[in-house]
Amino acid sequence: MTKATTRRFFFGGTIVFTAVFIAMTIHTHMTIAERTHADRLTEEVVRGLHVWGRYNCENCHTLLGEGAYYAPDLTQIVAQRGRPYLTAFMADPSKFYSEERDGRLMPTLGLSDPEIQEVISFLEWVGGIDTNGWPPRPILVSGAAPRGMPYVEGSLTSDDAVTRGKALFDGAAACATCHSRTQGLTQIGPTLAGIATTAADRLADPAYRGAAKTAEEYLRESILKPNAHVVTGGTYAAPDGTSLMPSTYDRTLEPDAVDDLVAYLATLQ
């Protein structure tokens, strides 16, 4: 082998692979609009992307798994937490977290109200990108599993509604990031320890505003219409009284999934 041969190898290889790369880039471009549902890419979302950049969110957080590792990945955060809670959180994270309890605290970055809405819209749009199935299992900010391992193989496809409901609660539906099942442990929402019993008490309470007649109906209503009756106390509601629980489950959860969740919650006596 002579130097002329290896030089040809270098230049030849470089030219060929650059050409292939450019061709693949062009093809990739043609698929992006659909894969990222660019029709939902509104001006508000674009402004949100710039808020994301201006406040340097990416040097603490990852998004689509890229960024820094000091703070949780936010790819699915809007589906998991919902807009009302995120609005309250972004305005003042110290209402929900503390360095003593959680080890670290997101600084109050001083976003304006419109900026908060814009960045949430941006995150919501990112959550809908077709990522080839990443993350393979939900990444949660907090809560969840120390008490229950959500990913026992096959639990989501089990024949038993309660098993499926529990897997949803801990995993895909991410209820566990807001609700503990330990007496006295309040995360963002009230503990659901004994919720089957509490539900009956709620109905008996004269302050109850909703339409449910039975405990099971109350559970279903709590999931699908959080604002039908807002439990008082803690950090449960925004200043205007709207519940911080996502009000989108009527759209994002399949009816079967709601049945499973209710079946599971009904076992928490």
């Binding site: 471009h29 969110c57 798994g65 590792y69 600084p107 077709d130 949660l140 809560g143 969840a144």
Partner: protein, 454 residues
């Protein structure tokens, strides 16, 4: 030094080392925030210190590359630089841009795009610097009319570095496209054109340090950089698995990026063979340590630890965890920091008008072993943190914050080993300072006749 204008290289090297020291300081500040409450949260939060840490890294490595070029090109082309004035002006502008960037971050002036956080105006400053640099180098070579392959790979690599900076200017509305082109800069730099620069410096050093045959070395240099592009260009696909790009990138990225370690293995084999043929007899043993060290640690940090998580079936679990931090540190240090430190150690005796044997202090060797040992320990600590995080958070489904609490001990280990590393950095800088200021010595007069007793 053989040519008077090579003295500009000393100033570049000095600047690079000062920035390196600052980078390490900001590394500690950043890591400290992992360990406990952060009293500086509202003054200088994690995002700020981390961006300063990584940007200082890029700036000092590039400063080192520029210094290396200003040292190597006169030697290779056997001439003075075309314009020493441009070289000084370039350094001044480059440092001004660097300082404004870092101070700007402290005041929140950032675009927050990982590694490319610089505001656009400052990026224009970078382009001006690059143009000054390339013009000066190309003119030097043209005037001399002598052009070696090593030099060609070096200058070609640097020109491509400048060219690939262009995508950093484009603003995208679609986050997926924003990510797609961010990697044209970040990946195609470190796993593409920077490797050309590294390969050229390595070839230069091996030829000088071992007296190996230039024809043979340059023949293999083409093989190494050929392998780099053969694997690295389509290897960009290992960043296109999960960002909204089509599924075919999973296997294209997987297969080609799995070939990327070949180029690094090539460099290690290159170093090994030269040493085997010509021995380790060169008087500048410290430079030899750094040169061989770079070839070996790059192979481990970039090649082996890159390979460890590049396959999509693995990457889907480890993506965006401290596994990436671990690989990023050892790859950057092994490949690019060590090669810059190698050329500095090689050039220092000449630049300061000293005899090579005389600059071989035990402090210099300590610096090598403390940094190497330290980064090795840091890699272990980050690796343990990354495995813990992947398992607890990604596989078992613990909340992010709960998983972080459980891996605290690895941050403590990271901190402890970082102290070892930092003491090596201190030793290196002290050794550099002790070698004295640059002096040009007429080629005929041996350095030792002019020396003031130290």
């Amino acid at each position: 030094m053989t040519y008077r204008s090579q003295r500009v290289a000393y100033a570049y090297f000095l600047a690079a080392l000062v920035l390196f020291a600052l980078q390490v300081c900001f590394g500690f500040l950043t890591l400290a925030k992992y360990l406990g409450p952060d009293p500086l949260r509202d003054v200088m939060n994690f995002a700020t210190t981390k961006a300063v840490h990584t940007n200082l890294l890029l700036v000092w490595i590039l400063t080192g590359f520029m210094g290396a070029t200003y040292y190597m090109v006169p030697e290779e082309s056997r001439t003075e630089l075309w314009s020493e004035r441009i070289a000084w002006g370039q350094l001044a502008l480059w440092l001004a841009v660097g300082v404004i960037t870092v101070v700007g971050y402290l005041f929140g002036w950032t675009t927050g795009r990982k590694f490319l956080e610089m505001p656009t105006v400052l990026k224009v400053g970078v382009v001006i610097v690059m143009v000054m640099f390339l013009v000066n180098i190309v003119q030097t070579i043209r005037r001399a009319g002598r052009f070696t392959t090593t030099e060609g790979v070096l200058v070609g690599g640097l020109a491509a570095v400048a060219l690939l900076f262009i995508p950093a200017f484009i603003v995208f509305d679609n986050y997926t496209l924003d990510r797609f082109y961010r990697w044209w800069v970040v990946h195609l730099w470190v796993e593409g054109v920077w490797e050309l620069v590294m390969g050229a410096i390595l070839a230069f050093l091996l030829i000088r340090l071992s007296g190996a045959d230039r024809e043979v070395m340059e023949k293999w240099l083409y093989v190494i950089v050929g392998l780099t592009f053969l694997s690295g260009i389509l290897g960009t696909g290992h960043h296109y698995y999960w960002i909204g790009t089509p599924r075919y990138w999973l296997w294209v990225g997987g297969v080609f990026s799995a070939l990327e370690p070949l180029a690094f293995l090539g460099m290690a084999a290159y170093a090994y063979n030269t040493i085997r043929r010509s021995g380790l007899a060169h008087p500048n043993s410290i430079a030899l340590h750094w040169t061989i060290g770079a070839a070996v640690l790059a192979t481990i940090g970039a090649g082996l630890l890159g390979l460890a998580h590049t396959w999509p079936q693995v990457n889907r679990w480890t993506h965006g965890t401290h596994i990436t931090t671990m690989h990023g540190h050892l790859a950057f240090f092994g490949a690019y920091s060590m090669i810059v430190l190698a050329i500095i150690s090689y050039a220092l005796p000449g630049l300061t008008g000293r005899d090579e044997a005389e600059t071989q202090t035990s402090l210099g060797l300590w610096a090598f072993w403390l940094m190497t040992g330290g980064i090795f320990g840091m890699t272990m600590a980050m690796g343990a943190a990354g495995i813990g995080q992947t398992y607890l958070e990604r596989i078992l489904g613990f909340g992010y914050l709960e998983a972080q609490k459980k891996i605290q001990v690895h941050y403590v280990m990271w901190f402890a080993t970082a102290i070892v590393f930092a003491s090596g950095v201190g030793a290196y800088i002290w050794d550099f300072v002790r070698a004295g200021a640059p002096r040009s010595v007429p080629a005929a007069a041996p350095a030792r006749d002019l020396r003031v007793p130290a």
